[in-house]
Amino acid sequence: MAEEFDFATPEQIQEAETRDSLAKEGGITYRTETDPDSGETRSFVNVLGVEVPTYASREDVRKIATETQLTALDQEMLWTIATCYKLRQPLMFEGRPGAGKTYLSEQFAKLIHGSDAEILTLYGSPKTTELDILGHWAPRGLKADAQKKYEDKLKEVMGGEEMTGYREDFNKRIEDLSRNLKDNKMTEEEFGQEFEDLSQDYVSRTGAIMAESMKDLVNLGTGATWEFKKGALLQAYTGREGKGYILNCEEFNMIPSNYQQIFLQIGGVNGGLSDRIHFWGSTEQTSYPRGQDTWIFFASNFPEATPGRSEVVAPLTDRVVWKVISDQDAAGKDSMMIRSAGGRLRSRAEEYSRVYPETLVIPMTNQVEWASALDEKLGEEVADLVEAVHHAFVTGYKAIGDKITVKGEERDRSQLLESTPRNAYRLFSYLDHNQVRDPDTGVVDFPATLTKAFELYYVSRLVSAQQRERVRNEFGVIMSDDIGQKVFEGRTITRAEIFHILAERLPKPKIEDERSMLKDMTTFDKDLGQTVGDLLLNNRIPESVKDIFQIRFLRASMERAEAISKDQALPRLIRNYSADRLVNLTQVEEELARNQNAKTVGRGWSEDDREFILWGDETLALLKNAKTQEDFDNIIHQLSAMEKLYQPIRNWEYEGEITVKNVLLDQHIGGWVRDAKFVRTGASDGFIIAGGDSANTYRFSRKPDGTYQRTSPINQIHPVRGLTMYSSGDKNIIITAQTHLLKFESENLGQPSRPLNLFEYKTTSSEVVSMGSSDDGKQVALGTINGEIRLFNIDTDIPSSSDAKRFKIDTKADGWPTKVKFSHDGRFLAVGTTMGRMCIYDAHTPGRDLLDKVEPLGPIKDIQFSSDDTTAWVVSSRGLVTKFEIEEDSDGGIKARRLETLQAGFDNATAASINRTGDGVALGYENGRVEVYSLKQLENGSPKKISTFRASDSVQELEFGEFGDKLLVGCRSGRLYVIGDKRR
């Protein structure tokens, strides 16, 4: 299959520029736009991809952007704030104090209204009443010296029998109204009307009581007049001369529930803020329209975790976008803050607050509109999908609920969430503004857009990581799994595939149009140049197509640099793209003279556009005169044949971000990916086996074009915690484990064949958390959660428990076994633990510790032995990679001598893998980021980052392929990727 290359349209280029500038500017940029008709200039601030109008000046935005440091969690929270503000959807952050809820909402308000933004704040406390929310009568023009007297009198009146009695009655009537609304005994409109009547009575009666009780206030010499002063909610809607305010409601669930219910009126149609609030004010105005800048942000703490808190009243939970900030996420942020000494350690603070371009959600410049394209089959598919996932979420939530861990104990949540269709409506609203582009096809990526929206409006409502995972899995199944397949135009395919097909059919510019558009281009993206390089190297692309692309590039280049000739344009472009590489002959010669063992692979055109240059580690240089097309093709063919030239590629020392394009597999396997491996049997071309919580083991065979396709899964009843495979004669034996060891036989991994279940054997009473196998695949070691390591010879008949060799680690001191790894000769069994200890046992002698407790490194994620077993590399979740020299001592034991420790990446890696040669390490993170570092190339003493990839969600499994040229990436959601070189 030929690779498809689509050239960037001006919109795509603009989106790429937005992404780059956001990453460069710390996630916040500013721009102005002048209306050509009216001449009016409008200002916009872009917050992590969400662009909204702003009153702030450029200087203000720059100052705020410069002073703000955002961790990954902050970025996610700020993006949520900006998205909800843009859609005018009220937002609730629920999380423990210190997570940054308030700080971020305030910084955002400053980005909208400037550094001196006036942010209304309602602080929830048991003393918060309708006086604070709706308003109260108070004297106007009261002199300072009379304030105390007035407040003393107010205390007397509020505590008096008449006011107390009236307020009790008012509370009861609000509760009745709310109950009737909840029980569907009245509509939202009727509720508003009834509330208006109630408020009329409230304003009249409290005004009368105050006037009567304080009639002697005039005798205090104040000269004051009475005025109804609007409370926080009314001010947010109508203050600032009708433009409205941003209102921060802090500690909202401290407010007594009857007063919380006053906020029910903010719930509008489609899940946004209501257009108006019904209230009878002193001026006899009964309806208060929402100002253009009105937005309400709520923050609350977990009621289960803190004494004295009540829950947010259930009807309100559905009127806001509800996002839980988990303790785990908040703890990660705390750790970063502390490790950067509160920002004093500048380089660490910058590392923790870096904005990665690939994490940004950049909406397409031109969104597909419901009124046109969406109002047909595509829109129907969207609506059907949303209905299906909404139904699945509501059904699951009612049946299972949610859980929270308090003081180490898991409890059912007391905070209940209502689930009317509001979240589905919000999702549609989100889709109006936030469609993202599929980088491969250039058209709308509806699955990615809907996944992000589902995360925002559904997954974020849950506390329990397990429940979050459950609903993500359900979404994945409905969107991408066989179970969720639909018949579409006579074929049974997944919804994701349907979306891709329909998105491809949306009108898009023809190539002639693109050519003319390119004439107008004033900037040129270096990525485009990079694509040219890839294109010209690809011998599967017809030369006629290459010609078209070259013409387009030349046009683009000439527009940009008028002075250069056509012959110079292409080399200049490529030089631009590869500014950090060498592209002309002189530089190549200099480089070769300087470093005869240059590792870098370079390529490019000579200045005269007649030579194509390649050089690599051993080949050093390949200089050919490509005076004709035939010559050029010959070079390409030679290049393909020269395996040695690609050695650096296998070690990931080349191409940087290009690997993102080489996604060889992107599949959903229905549940948390617990283990995934490359396997090679006999003369086969390589397979992948993967499994996890879905209780299936999936097999993927390699296609001739280097991508992978799924074959029939092995169905089983136990979730997979570990996998291994070996060949026995003509058979392929697959082993999986959780609390049982399951052994399957399959004749052909690449074809759908029914595997034979050879045995199912209960191995241990506690769950397997890690699994390792010897190189021949016949020895399997299982690490369990209670710290036991059991060794089985699985090539024998059904093993028995008594046959197993056992080792035990001290769980109190060392934690759980996170990694079990055999040496290549099968003699050593290395065990890494959650407490950062590595133990090495004699695999042939049960209970014999060869080496115990190397040193704390942080939770160990991977261990790798060199081919001769004299070196071991260990990587921990802190990104620390330690190299040990393994030596046998005279007693038959071994010593491990630490040679070096390198810091790759940053803390809190959720998965890691070291390649077989120990010169590369991959780290995966909670936010889906994957980074590959060279352990041979150092920058300032640290491994050089050579490639990055963005997975859909939390990375839980990483595994390099045999040659280090491919990487398996497994996610908590069940998404499985293979990235890397497709040549072998």
Partner: protein, 160 residues
């Protein structure tokens, strides 16, 4: 009184000099508010503590009415203009607005409230020298209904 002058001086020093980093804004430091709790056994009244603050000449405010808002803000404005402490002799619960002020000051050393005097909204940025110190008897702590009242403060001095 068992609490020594040295301990009181420590409290004053920590409230005056110790800062913490803003969690989001680079290079911005925040100052805490302070709390003094008088054990009932001392027989001291909050007003008597104000005399032991040495060189600090605070604005003194008596908070004995949970409906007090504007007068509290006026006292705070005065302290801010003078660049000194507001010493609050607290003997009652706090209303939502006063709690909000303390919370905002804790978060960013400034606050915005609505309806102060005749202003729709009113904002105040505290100077680097302005501090708030609440002083109350241990027995009066029970009057405070907000369970997070103590979280509003950095240094706490318990006078025995």
């Amino acid at each position: 009184m068992q609490t020594s002058a040295h301990e009181i001086a420590d409290f004053i020093n920590s409230l005056t000099q110790v800062s913490r980093p803003h969690p989001v804004i680079k290079d911005k430091i925040l100052f805490d508010s302070g709390l003094i709790i008088l054990e009932d056994s001392t027989g001291l009244n909050p007003g008597e503590l104000a005399d032991k603050l040495g060189s600090i000449k605070p604005v003194i405010y008596i908070l004995d009415n949970e409906y007090s808002t504007d007068s509290f803000v006026s006292a705070l404005v005065e302290a801010n203009e003078k660049g000194t402490w507001l010493f609050v002799q607290c003997a009652s619960d706090l209303n939502s607005t006063v709690l909000s002020i303390l919370d905002q000051i804790n978060d960013r050393n400034s606050f915005t409230i609505s309806n102060y005097l005749d202003n729709e909204v009113f904002s105040l940025q505290l100077t680097e020298k302005t501090r708030i110190a609440f002083c109350l008897k241990n027995s009066d702590l029970a009057k405070i209904s907000d369970p997070y009242f103590l979280n509003m403060f950095g240094p706490v001095l318990r006078v025995r």
